[in-house]
Symmetry: C2
Subunit: 202 residues, 2 copies
DNA sequence: AGCGGACAAACGAACGATTGTTAACCTGTC
DNA sequence: GACAGGTTAACAATCGTTCGTTTGTCCGCT
């Protein structure tokens, strides 16, 4: 019953746990609604100890945001790789990415609140660093949409924002207890787009 | 040059202004990010003076939420009345409502942040009073969706949540300076739904 | 006509609690 | 004994809120 090396060795495993708990708290109560003391007591630390790992609350949030976006990106890219191996169509690839996106949102307990620019309100300093990460992630979907064959006059950008809205809003009403299943929801949302435009000539 | 009765007579005109400013601030910086002092100085008052009009910050927010939902409901119902006089179809009625909804969101400076449950985080007390108002508003759209003729197997509830997501997310990226126009955006979002399902047999 | 409450609406100053943050000190491990 | 990973105690600022006081205005009274 020897524990799996709980002492030292792996240097930054506590930092990960810290970001996990901070993510849950901030997703639930917002950035301003979550105090450093809340985060500290959630990991069994004292408030001051957080400042060994992070310079400030803002930099903690920055690290959290980067982590969330990176995880989401990895998840979506993995889904796309699987889709490629099955030689799926452009529409199927988009659906795979959308499903991975929504699954990520739901599993992380609605972290979209953090990924959302709205979450930041009008904080000046933070937004610049964050915008780059978000754009990189969204670029994946930009590419997926430009690979679609669409009728003339259909705005790809607006279509992408439309899809993002539908997906990102889902965690608000989504409730596993009500029988919701993220994969099914993503598929049904995508069904609207596909029914409208798939197989239509350009 | 007599002013139009600035003194007394109309008893609660200052309260309206207060809610206006509070709405702008909270939409921009969130509930926790907006202090009573922020609100007070935005209307040229001292912090304590707010408590003549409202018992607490929470009750101020409750009044604000009620006001926003009421205004949105009036706006949507007016659009539906106009649609009825023109004897429009069920799809046109839904589009009229969706357009009014989005216009309301944009014009009030993204007050969806307030109307959104996510905004409240996990505040226990407030949510109960608010949920009723939100459900009443959403009932309008519930009715609009049940009036549609849709192919079998299409989930009306999910379709409504899909539409709400797309519309409610719009204020996040919407920017008039970039040539965005709320009416056009709403119409283009609705176009996806209509292209997919309008005129299809049940 | 003029006076005196009554009352809405705000001021001014403070309260206790909580906020993010800091700095000095302890503790185990290599 | 160096150093990562904390603890402990405190700081200045800000938070929501309270309370006694002050102002301006209207209405009934003599």
């Amino acid at each position: 019953m020897t524990e799996t090396q709980p002492t030292s060795q792996t240097p930054n495993n506590r930092r990960e746990e810290l970001l996990d708990r901070a993510g849950e708290l901030m997703a639930a109560k917002g950035y301003d609604g979550t105090s450093m003391r809340d985060i500290a007591s959630a990991v069994g630390m004292l408030p001051g100890s957080l400042y060994y790992h992070f310079d400030s609350k803002e930099s903690l949030f920055l690290a959290l945001h980067q982590r969330v976006v990176t995880l989401m990106e990895a998840r979506v890219r993995a889904a796309l790789d699987a889709a490629d191996k099955a030689a799926l169509s452009a529409w199927d690839r988009l659906e795979a990415a959308a499903t991975a996106h929504l699954e990520g949102l739901i599993e992380t307990g609605n972290l979209v609140a953090i990924v959302s620019p709205e979450f930041l309100g009008e904080r000046e300093g933070i937004s610049t660093a964050i915008r780059a990460e978000r754009r990189r992630y969204e670029q994946i979907f930009r590419d997926l949409f430009s690979a679609l064959t669409l009728p003339q006059g259909v705005d790809r950008t607006l279509l992408r924002l439309h899809l993002f809205g539908a997906l990102n809003w889902a965690p608000i009403w989504f409730d596993t207890a009500k029988g919701h299943d993220s994969r099914t929801v993503a598929r049904q949302i995508m069904a609207v787009f596909r029914t409208a435009y798939e197989g239509k000539p350009a």
